[in-house]
């Protein structure tokens, strides 16, 4: 990417002007997107940015009365480049706020850099528990979820259905193991018992041996965490192994997020838990979906919602200090106390700055994840290891 010299010149000029002409027109607030714009997660990064910009547009190009200037860095979902990439925003572009990212490994490096430099960070997807756990800081916020949350909500659903013996299956990496931990906690609290955890290396999709093990153990229910292409393959294999009829499957919503058309008949009736469902017919969500569809000629998904809410969160903080970003502690306190009127339903933030939100039961019907109830009201991440 070429060095944004003109932007820098503009910003410098604006800063010089504002010094001369008193502080009546503050320079625009610099918001840096660090998102995947290439690779497997490119579509997710794109949706997050669109969601964020939609809210800024709705506010007439300003948040809390303050004009916004955008900077972009492609993180390539590559943890090894994360620190260099985030420093491009912090040191080179000197942004005030960073919004990013999708991949948990990258987000962890961003959180460390944001903590050290005290840059305001809003995470619009990555669920790694540590971001609002041991790595938490007054300047680190999340507008999405922690991995523990959807797992926990699914555990509640499974226990409520009266299942006693469960098996779990996932990829052996942070998002998988953390989601399974959440599930196990809720399921065992509800009187069930997880008899065996199965896992395979990410992003391996050779499930046959593990499905055989499930058939042999005959549990009451299976909990799965997979996403994207691996999710499609898993659900199809589960069906092909004849397990769909004998052992019910429940999952974190990512199993069927964006994958339902590809899964087809094998996924019909599949129950998942998530903090958003396409079919939520609240006036707020309908308005959001219409506006998004008109603006971008495509349908929003959970990622767009999370990007949109990142902007709402920042707006709430800026409004409280009337656009004066120098009043950082007031601004951050206001963000933490805000009630966000999200398309997913209203939510607040936990003291660790993770959304305390409703989790919905969704069922696959046709090509959609149709909401069929609420699994847990106002579920807060325990934020273990966080000291604020």
């Amino acid at each position: 990417m070429p060095f944004p010299f003109s932007k820098l010149a503009l910003a410098t000029a604006a800063a010089a002007l504002s010094l001369g002409a008193a502080a009546q027109t503050p320079p625009p607030l610099k918001v840096g997107f660090m998102l995947p714009y290439t690779g497997t997660f490119a579509a997710l990064g794109d949706a997050i940015e669109k969601g964020f910009k939609l809210h800024v547009d709705e506010q007439g190009g300003k948040l809390g009365g303050r004009a916004i200037q955008f900077f972009k860095v492609d993180d390539e979902s590559e943890p090894s480049k994360a620190t260099d990439n985030v420093n491009k925003l912090i040191k080179r572009d000197q942004v005030d706020v960073i919004v990013g990212t999708v991949h948990s490994g990258v987000a962890l490096a961003m959180a460390r850099a944001a903590k050290e430099s005290n840059t305001l960070l809003i995470v619009p997807n990555a669920g790694a528990d540590a971001i609002t756990g041991p790595l938490c800081a007054p300047n680190i916020f999340r507008s999405s979820f922690s991995n523990w949350q959807p797992g926990y909500a699914t555990g509640v659903i499974a226990a409520q259905k009266g299942h006693k013996r469960a098996m779990t299956i996932t990829w052996n990496y942070a998002a998988g193991t953390e989601t399974v931990k959440g599930f196990t906690e809720a399921f065992e609290k509800g009187g069930g018992k997880v008899i065996k955890d199965l896992s395979l290396p990410f992003p391996n999709v050779e499930f046959q041996a593990l499905l055989t093990e499930i058939a042999a153990q005959k549990p009451d229910v299976v909990f799965a965490f997979f996403a994207g292409g691996g999710a499609v393959k898993f659900v199809k294999d589960y069906d092909a192994a004849g397990l769909r009829k004998s052992v019910p499957l429940v999952a974190s919503g990512f199993l069927t997020e964006g994958t339902v058309p590809a899964i087809g008949a094998a996924g019909q009736g599949l129950v998942t838990a998530m903090h958003y469902a396409d079919s939520m017919e609240t006036p707020r969500n309908t308005a959001f979906r219409n506006k998004y569809a008109v603006t971008y000629k495509s349908n929003p998904d959970v990622y767009a919602v999370q990007g949109y809410d990142a902007a709402q969160l920042l707006a709430a903080g800026l409004a409280a200090v009337k656009g004066d970003f120098a009043k950082r502690s007031e601004l951050q306190a206001a963000m933490n106390k805000a009630t966000i009127d999200s398309p997913r339903g209203k939510f607040t933030l936990s003291p660790q700055r993770n959304p305390t939100q409703d989790f919905y039961v969704r069922e696959v019907k046709g090509d959609y994840n149709v909401m069929s109830g609420v699994a847990v009201k106002a579920l807060a991440d325990p934020g273990r290891g966080c000291r604020i």
């Binding site: 052996n172 999709v205 041996a209």
Partner: protein, 290 residues
């Protein structure tokens, strides 16, 4: 674990092992016999999977015919690739071979991205191979996986026969031992290498085509297979086809039972196996020799 489960898991292990053997046998030809470190071998496997994705709808129920046509296409591709690139590599050292074939991986991935995009696809098995057979009370085994195992076995046997019992095989073996001597005897060694290379590519692609209905077709799918098939070639003894078969079955067993019993170690079980075997027999299970 009861007996029925054990039996099904053994079937799973053998099936995975045989598929690995098919990929590794192509690598044995190119790496073991011709001496080219071919990192792009995983890309040939990926090529096969994408060929199946493209061809399967055209051939409908004629799955076997599709495999044959796809293999021929892949062989033609390999023939041209050898002529354009690999023929210059034999005299180079291993570092240059690694760099060149690594570059080819990047080119192939980019081409795939341009031609078919980055989505994940599934390939449907033909109706006559769909469905499952019941094994025990709750156990079922997909018919397609049985077909895949038998196909891999048959191809492996044909390969062994070609290399060991035919005139072509004799020339290949001689060429591998002493290139200049074979040329001196008037055998067109350049052409011979081209054919062997095309055969290696075709074997990897055939494995990819057979795997496609069992595993998804997705970007970067060659990477994992490449590493594991190098492991198989090294464990089996570089250049030995029976060695590759034994090693592939061992890897299949370790991978399958490792996944079920030691989930935390399932990513490294295969490499532990390699370490143990190489300590015990540094040259692999079977030395070069047929």
């Amino acid at each position: 674990m009861d007996l029925a489960t054990f039996a099904v898991q053994c079937l799973n292990a053998v099936q995975y092992g045989l598929l690995l053997f098919l990929v590794a046998s192509g690598l044995t030809l190119i790496f073991g016999i011709m001496g080219v470190i071919n990192l792009a071998h995983g890309s040939f496997y990926m090529l096969g999977a994408y060929l199946a994705f493209g061809l399967a709808p055209l051939f409908g129920q004629n799955f076997v015919l599709m495999l044959v046509c796809g293999t021929l296409l892949a062989a033609l591709f390999g023939y041209l690739l050898e002529w354009a690139f690999f023929s210059y590599l034999y005299q180079r050292d291993h570092l240059q071979q690694v760099l060149m074939t690594w570059a080819l991986i990047l080119v192939f991935e980019e081409l795939r991205s341009m031609l078919v995009g980055n989505d994940v696809h599934g390939v449907k098995a033909p109706d006559w191979l769909a469905g499952t057979v019941a094994l025990g009370e709750l156990m079922t085994y997909p018919v397609y996986r049985l077909f895949a195992s038998l196909a891999c076995l048959a191809i492996g046997a044909a390969l062994w026969f070609t290399v060991n019992r035919t005139r072509l095989g004799m020339m290949i073996r001689a060429g591998a031992s002493n290139r200049d001597m074979v040329r001196g005897l008037g055998i067109p060694i350049t052409w011979l290498y081209r054919v062997v290379f095309a055969g290696g590519v075709a074997l990897a692609a055939l494995a990819g085509m057979i795997a496609a209905p069992m595993s998804s077709v997705y970007p970067g799918m060659g990477g994992h297979v490449l590493i594991v098939s190098f492991v198989v070639v090294v464990i089996g003894g570089i250049g030995s086809i029976p060695g590759a078969l034994v090693a592939a079955l061992l890897v299949g067993l370790v991978d399958t039972f490792g996944k079920v019993f030691f989930a935390e170690l399932s990513g490294i079980g295969v490499y532990l196996l390699m370490a143990v075997i190489l300590v015990w027999r540094p040259e692999g299970l079977m030395r070069k020799g047929w």
